[in-house]
Symmetry: C2
Subunit: 523 residues, 2 copies
């Protein structure tokens, strides 16, 4: 440290580094300038600039899902937090640990209601599990240590620390010692035994998994339970991370379309929840039920997010005397596709080429329906999804995941409309030299909304309604958009072109983008 008496920013950053926080995703302004200056004065914190706050917040989500520990974020007052809100919402739904630092006016400046003054606390409360305002430079280090512990408290969450400018610039105290996060609770044996009875009961039973249970350990325990009880096992529709691929015990996910999810759940009479809420449809539809719990089905809970849910699954498997051997996904890849470029041939190319231990960022929406099938037998990999439904997660999630695991290939399967919310992330991917390959499905539409318009019963849409779902007039040129931010890009119009482009992109370090011109899914 350059100065024997640290200021608030310096002591806070040192505390964060000591607590294991190594990366700061930032889009700062004037009120954060002392924090920014301190990034050089304290060793150990890597600063990554995003040109829009949604990039910053989505990157912190992707980083923590892969690193298993939080990054910090640096945002500029209420409007900066607003711009970062949607991807913090997704992170909240993923239970991602994030230390969300929101700079604010100096404590004594707030009463002037300067133009950037707004109710930061109200906005932060809607996406955070913990909100605290540092009021003095002396308390900043201990506030920082507590923020890390609150972010890491099981199941993980967004801990927001509001940081006034003068708290940063005034003289502070030495760095605070790290605070151990509260460990997850151990599920009592009687709850485990009750779950065993529920799954053994007459009729068909369902084990429904979410949260952190879709890693390899959790899925293995779940499939052991299925083998012992005959229960069907499903994972939540949009998991934070699912481990999958050849040799991995893989749990089937519930589908987004409620009609199909109801078919999967069938006439279950008993359902056990593990770190997941009761299944419900994503949206309401006129005349259709919101709950997906079959009529008369008894629902019980083995573990919630504050519990060690994976350990609970293993305890349940043991209590059932379940076998250790479970079915795993068989190795196998599709042939390299030829001919027309469709979402199916794109899927085949991905399945044929997906590298070992890849991180797949899936925001492909309707264009992605063949991707899971095509990659089921590919080498083991992690699959990250849009957890909170706020589109615009893919580009930043890929950025953050790649910074957490620079040696792993990251493949972002990205819908066109969704990409446009946070396309600025490509610039950060280029600046940081991330090994991200982006496949853009350019179908010139919000295809999912075309489907949803029909599903809500809005028949025969007129020209204005169709215009709201249409991304043509003018066509978006993603090759230009990516190149304009320093990312190498090319366009593919046939299956051969796409497959060769994907092979080249995966062989290259640094970010690459392939624009796949595909027809929208015909539903």
């Amino acid at each position: 440290m350059s100065d024997p008496t640290p200021n608030g920013a310096q002591s806070l950053i040192r505390t964060l580094v000591d607590s294991g926080v190594e990366v700061c995703f930032a889009n700062p302004g004037t009120s954060e300038m002392h924090f920014v200056a301190a990034l050089d004065e304290v060793p150990g914190m890597r600063a990554v600039l995003g040109l829009f706050e949604g990039v910053v917040t989505g990157a912190a989500d992707g980083y923590a899902r892969i690193a298993g520990k939080p990054a910090c974020i640096l945002l500029h007052l209420g409007p900066g937090l607003g711009n970062g809100f949607a991807n913090l919402h997704n992170a909240r739904r993923a239970h991602t640990p994030i230390v969300n630092i929101v700079g604010d006016h100096a404590t004594y400046h707030k009463r002037f209601d300067a133009p950037l003054e707004s109710d930061i606390d109200a906005v932060a409360g809607a996406v955070s599990t913990w909100v605290h305002r540092s009021m003095t430079s002396e308390s900043a280090p201990t506030d920082g240590a507590r923020a890390v512990a609150e972010a890491m408290r099981s199941p993980g969450g967004v801990a927001t620390l509001i940081l006034p400018a003068d708290v940063c610039w005034l003289e502070s105290t030495p760095p605070a010692a790290p605070v151990m996060p509260q460990p997850p609770a151990i599920v009592p044996q009687e709850v485990v035994d009750a779950a065993a009875r529920a799954l053994r009961s007459d009729g068909s039973s369902v084990l429904f998994l979410g949260g952190r249970t879709l890693d390899e350990r959790g899925q293995r325990a779940a499939l052991r339970i299925a083998a012992a009880t005959g229960a069907k096992v499903f994972g939540e529709v949009f998991p934070r991370v699912q481990r999958r691929g050849a040799g991995v015990p893989v749990v089937e996910r519930l589908t987004y379309l409620a009609e199909f999810a109801q078919m999967q759940l069938g006439d279950a009479t008993s359902m056990v929840l593990v770190d997941v809420p009761e299944p419900a449809s994503f949206f309401a539809y006129p005349g259709k039920p919101s709950s997906l719990v079959p009529e008369g089905c008894a629902v019980s809970t083995l573990a919630t997010g504050t519990d060690d849910a994976v350990a609970a699954l293993e305890a349940l498997a043991d209590a059932l005397g379940a076998p250790d051997d479970v079915p795993v996904a068989e190795a196998g890849r599709p042939e390299r596709p030829t001919g027309e470029l469709t979402i199916e041939s794109v899927a085949s190319a991905i399945g044929a080429l997906l590298p070992e231990n890849a991180i797949v960022i899936d925001e492909a929406q309707t264009s992605g329906i063949f991707n899971q099938g095509a990659t089921a037998g590919a080498p083991p990999h992690d699959w990250l999804t849009l957890t909170g439904g706020a589109i615009g997660i893919g580009v930043p999630l890929a950025l953050g995941a790649s910074i957490a695991a620079p040696d792993r290939p990251v493949l972002n399967l990205q819908a066109d409309g969704s990409a446009m919310y946070t396309l600025q992330g490509w610039w950060s991917q280029a600046r940081e030299g991330t090994n991200v390959t982006t496949v853009i499905y350019n179908n010139s539409s919000y295809a999912i909304l075309r489907m949803e318009l029909a599903r809500v019963g809005a028949d025969e849409p007129g020209p204005q309604a169709l215009g709201m779902l249409d991304l043509a007039r003018p066509d978006l040129d993603f090759v230009q958009l990516a190149q304009g931010m320093g990312v190498a890009a090319e366009r593919a119009q046939t299956a051969e072109e796409f497959t060769e482009a994907l092979e080249r992109a995966l062989a290259n370090d640094g970010p690459n983008l392939i624009e796949a011109i595909v027809p929208p899914l015909g539903l």
Copy 2:
């Protein structure tokens, strides 16, 4: 209407149209699909799609600043509102009337805490003067009429109507009659007389103007008052709209840099505020005062935002027996510049070519400091600024202004870093065929933050800090970014190239962008 019994969305839209709302800036999702379908079933509402919600909210601000009446906005639940938050914050600071419709889950669906569920009310409260949730389809029309009146209530504000999906799709009642907004209050004569005494008092006095008083009527009255009293007159730093140009009575604006603003205000002993808060610095700086009111200066208020402030200024001028004649800006333009392309030569070209009755959208930040001087004698025009300090307003503000006044040329003077927050607006400019010319100042940096880093006293920044202020590595190519969204674009590297490009762009209909490669302001 296609159906004798309208649903909630149809009756609401009909009510809005009857209340004078003609444009809906939208970025909808599934929960808004019945509203979207109704846009065709009810005549009179033009739907404009934005590919990101910050575009939608900024466009509604630009529209209403020019049209003098609200547009409506259609956003998708909490995350959509979050994405639109920053430009709603700017609109709040501009006192812009906006009917902000935020779609939500169906009333009965909320208890399932589906992935997109969040606390919309909390976020809306931070940017709205009025927040209401429609709970039945029967109340939707009256809620809509009230939202328009609340948006228009002086001085104008963001009226947020939260609209559950089932309120849209269920059968409703006939459209509601428009509600007249509460008119602005008339300032009592004794307040006018007190202001007259304050400005006539010994010592130097200052009349400080904001809100709607920087139109031609307000500025004329203010200059009459100055002529009668010798008071100095200043407009707020970032006005919503200022009328200016040859033949217009123009009030000088206070400068952003507090050091200069203090010099402008001098040793005033009396200050009268008109629809504006006391002058304060934009940010706090170590060791510098936040308030810009000179020591010992008595501050009084002639009118607030709820008053008819322009009428109060005219009453004050009359009470003072002020002359009718006031100085107006003289006609005169700079020469067409030659040689190096700098922010000064860009300003000269703009001054030489600015068309009559143009709408200038100023988000040029540090690159714009010569623009007001260079255009002072240009033909009369309106100047719109970043009112709330949340950068990323320019591109959408230009979109909305152009939709409000399709026959007027719109010139967006746009900083590079700020443009990147809402660049998606170029696509909407292209789709709607708006007559917007964008000048991007590409100086490869957040130049204003370089200045601010020095101003806050953070000396000798290190490489990570400088990296946070630097938009190079990689360079942004705005020609590709604009073309990728269907906007014609070219790059200028000399004053001649820029001037010719600007002349071509202003002569063309439809959006155009010129990327001006300029050195950052050396401060």
